[in-house]
Amino acid sequence: MTGDRASQTNSTQPRVGLFVTCLVDLFRPGIGFACVKLLEDAGCAVEVPAAQVCCGQPAFNSGDTDATRRIARQTIEAFAGYDYVVGPSGSCMATISKDYPEILKDDSEWSERARALAGRSYELMAFLTDVLEVSPPETSFEGRATYHDSCSGLRSLGIKQQPRTLLSGVKGLTLTEMQDAEVCCGFGGTFCVKYPEISVKMVSDKIGNIDASGADTLLGGDLGCLLNIAGRLKRLGKDVRVLHTAEVLAGMADRPGIGDGDRD
């Protein structure tokens, strides 16, 4: 099975199944490798079950609950047997830990398994901070950054301080809070293509706040939001680097930022 590295696991290491998320898989695999590094540095044995695709959120948020249930069961099956399931997105991990138990609660075969999976599923920053209680990693990043709180992570999972705590150890990085850091960037999954004008207005407001903070780097914990914000920043010709927090913490921020190319 692809990525089954169970043979390397020693018995005291927590076995972590990495939920890559589809956007990271497709657009920014570097975030996935940053997760692997952070988790391995923290003493975890990391595996990547091959049978994972997406958490099902696009179907769930579009009203197709039946398809979501099928995808949920596939995900539950794929991640059976791990001590923890960890992913670099508050949004996907909230779907797994909050929505799966809810949509499968009347399914006698799956409700217990959904609850069990939910109980050991974590967003990356929360896992490192709240479960493993790691110290901020010693790494460096030159920049003046501001942090966008993605909505699902913030409101469904209570992720607020964790990334900031971890970033506080990064040498050379100053973190300046922007106005309305907790306000939605306008991504909203399919919302951004269904209502592009409103979405662009919202992301433009976000960029106004990024500008006003004086930051040269935007950090966040959800690639959907970061693609949206980077996409608008680049369209406006703004020279702000956009990175996932994991990339900075793993010391893997030396490559072009999101939406930047070789020539930037």
Binding site: N61, D64, K234, G261
Partner: protein, 473 residues
């Protein structure tokens, strides 16, 4: 009020390019959002109050028949009359009959969203009555022939200049010949005109923020005092209220009033909170001779006892819209009916039906800020998602979305095929975008690329790289 015909999307589009509207709603953001945050920060008990408020509403809704009958009994004991209306049409008929029996010519109204919901003014005007809104904001939108764009601040879409233009045009009839320059002057005109109307009114119609079963009272909350003059000076006082407005006791109302003022305006209290109970007593020197309450269902019982019951906790504070980034982008009129913002996106399809409000549940990023500030903890994003599910089940989702989601979900359930497809496509896209790191346009992605670049994939997919790495070990 009739539901607007054109789409949310086209109304939103005009709203986004309306500079004056954008200026007006920006003020909401800086004003009320900040004021609420200060009020909440100053009150360590606020979270406990939200829990208590939600529990009071849940308890009452679970025994709604019991409390409504108790409430009715008390109203009757105090000499008032209670009328029950199944729908908007029946509510209008009841009120028209009360007005006719009173020989009414002039009706003054306090602010009442449910009266907007049942489109009352048009019905009364069709009977030849003069209907005058007394809340300054409602008065202004009535004069302008518009609908309120916010449930607490009806004129949030209007600047002082807009109002000055309107009054200059319409207040000559009252002898105000010169254009008023300041908000104070404009409000002074409203005060003068309404003072006469209050004394002329045969019928005063108010809403109710709460109905109290303990005493048979209705409670209204205002800052202007217009509701009080409406309910005190007219010969007949009619209260319009949704059936979900009842609470058991005065103590319960007190909990909810604390939440209401803070959530709506960021204030501890409003200037006036008034309990009206029955008509004037035998030896009273003022007050109405008749007191009627019209309890209105109009779709509420369909929410009761089911997945949408929590929506009936709503106390109409407007905090959800004040904190909604979509509302703050497009304003209230874009929503097309009486109730805008997140609560409206739930209530409109629930009351008026999906076919009249197909877009509203989707015009939301599910960011959850509304739920975070809701004083009675209504899980608005969850309710909106449930509405989307109903639409999916009932076939209200447009074909393109349905096809796209279904195709994607089909693929998502076939990991090997998905891996093969993305493993081929992504490197190509990455190669095409490697130089600039982004695309200015992409086929089938115009929704995205109209206002944003599309970041290019970094390289091969994670899973492709991970599989190779595993093979190399």
């Amino acid at each position: 009020m009739a539901i607007a015909g054109e789409s949310f999307k086209s109304r939103a589009s005009s709203a986004l390019s309306d500079a004056s509207l954008q200026t007006s709603i920006a003020g909401l953001k800086s004003g009320f959002v900040a004021a609420r945050a200060r009020a909440v920060a100053a009150l360590p008990e606020f979270e406990a109050m939200r829990d208590a408020g939600a529990a009071i509403k849940d308890h009452t809704l679970a025994h709604l028949d019991v409390y409504l009958e108790r409430y009715e009994r008390e109203v009757v004991r105090q000499g008032g009359k209670v009328h029950w209306a199944r729908d908007a049409e029946e509510a209008r008929r009841i009120i028209r009959e009360i007005c006719a029996a009173a020989g009414a010519r002039t009706v003054v109204k306090g602010k009442s969203m449910v009266s907007e919901e049942i489109d009352l003014n048009a019905a009364l005007e069709a009977d030849g009555l003069e209907v005058v809104e007394s809340d300054a904001g409602e008065y202004i939108v009535q004069l302008a022939g518009e609908a309120p764009s916010h449930i607490v601040m009806p004129t949030i879409h209007k600047t002082t200049d807009d109002v000055a233009d309107l009054f200059e045009d319409r207040h000559r009839a009252y002898g105000f010949m010169d254009r008023a320059k300041s908000a104070a002057e404009l409000i002074g005109q409203v005060r003068t005109i309404l003072r006469e109307k209050y004394f002329a009114a045969d019928v005063g119609i108010t809403g109710a923020n709460f109905l109290v079963a303990e005493t048979g009272s209705n409670i209204i909350v205002t800052n202007e005092g217009n509701g009080d003059l409406t309910s005190t000076l007219a010969r007949v006082h009619i209260v319009t209220a949704g059936i979900e407005k009842v609470v058991p006791t005065l103590n319960d109302a007190s909990v909810l009033l604390r939440l209401l003022a803070r959530s709506a305006l960021g204030m501890e209290v409003t200037s006036y909170m008034t309990l009206s109970t029955g008509p004037r007593r035998a030896d009273d020197l003022d007050g109405p001779e008749e007191y009627h309450v019209v309890l209105i269902d109009n779709g509420r019982t369909e929410m009761l006892g089911g997945a949408f019951q929590s929506m009936l906790r709503c106390i109409r504070c407007g905090a959800c819209m004040n904190h909604c980034p979509v509302y703050l982008s497009v304003g209230g009129h874009s929503y097309g009916w009486v109730y805008p913002g997140p609560m409206g996106a739930v209530l409109t399809p629930m009351i008026a039906g999906h076919e009249k409000a197909k877009e509203l549940p989707h015009a939301c990023t599910l960011n959850g800020r509304c739920q975070q500030v809701c004083p009675v903890k209504i899980p608005l994003p969850d309710l909106l998602r449930r509405l989307r599910h109903q639409q999916w089940e009932q076939g209200f989702i447009d074909a393109t979305t349905r096809w796209g989601i279904s195709a994607w979900a089909w693929l998502a359930q076939r990991p090997k095929l998905y891996r093969a497809a993305t493993g081929l496509a992504i490197p190509v896209l990455a190669w095409l975008g490697r130089s600039s790191g982004r695309f200015r346009s992409l086929p089938l992605a115009s929704g995205w690329t109209a206002g944003r670049d599309m970041p290019a994939p970094q390289g091969e997919t994670f899973h492709a790289q991970w599989a190779r790495r595993a093979r190399q070990k």
